[in-house]
């Protein structure tokens, strides 16, 4: 594991400064320590997937990176800036979509731009582009309640993309849609990313999703959690449906699975004791 972490730092150093630097980060809720000693680097245009059992704090970690929550130990730097609250250049896509029900698709996508002070002309130019990019053309005037989960998440994605971030944070973005839509959206996201690559931290429950999306998969587990392994995913890009059929895909998936679920029962007992 040490070697894997060292490799992370090296690759980041080799490919230029890491966009995201997480150093020795820990987070507590009262007496309960959620995770600790988390070190993570994410390079420019690199997708890092984070998997772990429920309660391991991966969602919390993501929120710390976004600046929505503070860390109790350690530092987080994004684009060289120390994170204490959300900064420009970082955008998040939420599991619950987080669309404002009173705003149309157009208004929702324009929201981030509006807040950042974009002019009306800029908004009028960019918003339609991103709406078309996520495949929602024609639905500009629709309200969230009129749309399916998949469509809503596309809108959430467009909203995040519209501010042209260098870092995208994805909080289990496809967990709340049905399985078929989920598959469709995964490949949509990959297609969009190929067009506009950003650094991405992708938190997910699904091991397959993590292996499909990521350049690396981080396994977060333990009580308190820490990074158990950092697995490099050497599948070629662009990824597509064929990737799912490749033998290497299955190998990597099994590797992640076994890392995650070794000592699974032991982890369960630890959970009981912690209560």
């Amino acid at each position: 594991m040490e070697a894997a972490l060292a490799a992370t730092r090296e690759s980041a150093a080799g490919g230029g400064r890491a966009r995201i630097r997480v150093r020795g980060v820990a987070r507590r809720y009262g007496a309960l320590e959620v995770f600790r000693n988390v070190d993570l680097d994410v390079a420019d245009r690199e997708i890092v997937a984070i998997v772990g059992p429920s309660g391991c704090g991966k969602t919390t970690l993501l929120r710390c990176i976004d600046g929505l929550m503070p860390v109790d130990e350690g530092t987080i730097e994004v684009n060289g800036e120390r994170i204490t609250q959300p900064i420009a250049g970082v955008a998040m896509v939420f599991q619950h979509f987080g669309l404002f029900p009173w705003k149309t698709v157009y208004a929702n996508v324009a929201y981030g731009l509006k807040l950042a002070g974009a002019s009306a002309a800029e908004i009028a130019e960019r918003v339609p582009y991103f709406i078309a990019l996520v495949g929602l053309k024609g639905f500009e005037q629709a309200y969230p309640y009129q749309m399916s989960g998949g469509m809503q998440q596309r809108c959430g994605l467009a909203r995040a993309l519209a501010v042209e971030p260098s870092v995208l944070l994805m909080d289990e973005p496809f967990a709340a849609v049905d399985a078929q839509t989920r598959e469709i959206l995964q490949f949509e996201l990959l297609r969009i990313w190929e067009q506009r690559p950003t650094s991405m931290v992708f938190v997910t429950h699904s091991i397959e999703e993590a292996v499909l999306m990521g350049d690396r998969v981080i396994v977060l587990k333990g009580r308190p959690s820490s990074i158990h392994e950092d697995i490099a995913i050497d599948l070629p890009r662009p990824r597509s449906r064929e990737t799912l059929g490749e033998p290497r895909f299955a190998e990597l998936r099994e590797r992640v699975w076994s890392t995650l679920f070794s000592e699974a029962r032991q982890a369960e007992f630890q959970l009981e004791k912690a209560r």
């Binding site: 939420f94 029900p101 009173w102 705003k103 950042a116």
Partner: protein, 250 residues
Amino acid sequence: MTADALRRHGPFWLSLIIGMALWEIAGRMANPAFFVPLSETLVRLWQLTESGQLIRQFGESATLFLTGFVLAVAIGMPLGLLLARVRLMRVALEPYIMILYATPMVALIPFILSMMGFGFAPKVLVVFLFAVFPVLYNTIEGARSIKPEMIEVAHSFRSSEWALWREVMVPYTLPFTMTGVRLAIGRALVGMVAAEFFLSSTGLGQLIMTAGQNFDTPGVFAVILVIGLMGVALMRIGLMVERYFARWRD
């Protein structure tokens, strides 16, 4: 006319005709001091309209109603939003607002009369007091019910406090305020008539009082009819407004 339309609207028209007929028949049979038929009521109504009296008095009542009502919304909504956002203030004032909401405001009318006398202002105050609490209470409860996820999203996009209000809190709360507005309409109407009865006599309240004192039973019925229709129309408007603002809710 299709059978389906007949089935749906038939009963309404039927009951309306039956009702009107009953009114007419009962009116003719009863003592004219107590009950008058529909026809006489309508004649009296026409007389009042022709003499311009009805229009004039209606105008006075409408002015009173609108002034008090608009004030209630103009103060109730922003105050409600403020209290929803500033937890300390809300927690501190909540029980007192609830008590006021449950107190019959009519009981305060004698005090207002005693302290402010006759005139337009005390009557506006009465209408205001009747109308403000539903607006205030519903706004607070509405704004409080906002899901934390919404605030989190705004936070992640680095929203300023001002932008939070403009883009999130106000649009979210508006439908709840409109529910309060709808509730306030009925109350404000009662306040308006009460003010015209018990404070200085103007408007439709004066009209109906005078008719009662002169044993002008048709007149009494006529004005009740007018106020009743006014109430129905306002309730309808209130419902439509409420539904319009809530159209993004499923």
